[in-house]
Symmetry: C2
Subunit: 101 residues, 2 copies
DNA sequence: TAAAGTAGTTACCTTTGCGTAACTATCAAA
DNA sequence: TTTGATAGTTACGCAAAGGTAACTACTTTA
């Protein structure tokens, strides 16, 4: 478990994996699909996920350049887990009580 | 998903939940069961997990004091997910290549 | 020649996560 | 009166995570 969390224990990486659950995506698409993430964190997270064998980076030698990101087998094995996590929130989420000022 | 990760997206919280999957535990037990965690992070993580309705803190008015932590229903719903995460690592973990010096 | 599109990078800064070590409070037992 | 046990807290600081804004490189199109 400690090793799993060493790889995934950040705010954004599971979200990136979840976003790639049913599609490949280009860098710019990920940036648009994932709200509030900065390009910098997206870059570094993708790089680390690639090093950990979860994401595959495919570069097309075209102009303008195109790069596609997809999950590896190891990454795909996480899809059901990420989906359950999303579902867990839907079941148990409660609106925070409104503040009376 | 962003909300799930807002709650769980740290290195230690999922490990705490995983440790509580099959037992209640006292503060000192958690500290002993979870290797390398500091008491400070344990304290603050437990406090936040309690605020988020995942962990229940039960204080016994005894001497010396006793406090037990257990998962709520919301927390118990995470058990299968955490177990799958642990299993995922067992299946896909590879020893890092030894460095030749 | 300038603008537009893709996939980043770089510099700089703030916040959060986390660690270590020492300290507190309470009461019982030695 | 000192020690021991439990469950923390406090002070201090480092490193990682994360954000913003500006900049790069390349080539096509206007």
């Amino acid at each position: 478990m400690q090793r799993s969390m060493g790889i995934l224990g950040t705010r954004w990486k599971p979200i990136i994996i979840y976003t790639l659950r049913d599609r490949k995506a280009r860098f710019g698409q990920l940036d648009a699909l994932i709200e509030n993430i900065s390009r910098k964190v997206l870059t570094s997270s993708l790089k680390e996920l690639e090093e950990d064998g979860i994401v595959l980076r495919e570069e097309f030698k075209e102009l303008p350049p195109r790069v596609e990101y997809a999950l590896t087998e190891k990454g795909k094995a996480l899809i059901p887990i990420m989906c359950q996590l999303a579902k867990w929130n839907e079941e148990y989420y409660e609106e925070p009580a409104p503040l009376i000022l």
